[in-house]
Symmetry: C2
Subunit: 119 residues, 2 copies
């Protein structure tokens, strides 16, 4: 799996110049990996519903459970992933934890996705 940059020379390909350009413009593996993780996190219906539900207002875990129609445990697990990707933030008020979208990029990502679907 591990290859070096000069592997180009050993691999069959038609347009060496184009390949070279594309390789130079390629972001670091680490960045690509993080980006993929972000999209993958948005790539699940349950999590997408959570994100949609939080577009207008903050909600607590049991509200989200009711909106999305999965168990509170399942919602909590998903919220953990969303938190890890900084897609949502939360505040505690007594026993209740309120979740909301972390920043505006998420809403834009969501909108752009919808645009693409609808075309």
């Amino acid at each position: 799996m591990i290859k070096k940059d000069n592997d180009i020379c050993q691999i069959k390909c038609i347009h060496l110049d184009k390949v070279k350009l594309a390789k130079e413009a390629m972001p670091a593996d680490e960045l690509i990996r993080k980006l993929a993780e972000l999209y993958r996190t948005m790539g699940d219906p349950t999590r997408l519903k959570i994100i949609q539900a939080l577009q207008e207002q903050e909600l607590c875990v049991c509200d989200l459970s009711a909106v999305v129609e999965v168990s509170e445990s399942a919602v909590s697990h998903q919220l953990r992933l969303l938190r890890a990707q900084k897609l949502v933030k939360f505040r505690r008020e007594g026993k209740v934890v309120y979740y909301s979208l972390d920043d505006q990029h998420i809403a834009i990502l969501f909108e752009q996705g919808l645009e693409h679907i609808k075309e």
Copy 2:
């Protein structure tokens, strides 16, 4: 797994009014599912590299294989998924098939993702 809308009444939740609003604003399951599929398709490092490589110029399968550093077969499989989600389009020129990004939404999605990562 299958639940009806009026399940709200049976599920414990704190803010019935908010839940009702969120449920009304929730897009149809079918739309959510398609959207999740789109993001999931972007949620893999190999496919993301392919998308990045195609930002500047069209490339053929063996070029992509060299840029992304996976086998041509693997690239071909991934291109099939990208095609299914209308993320890329292609044209045939003799034996060679050239791939390019299907529309501008993809580039925007990619950019917004990067923005979020960098924050």
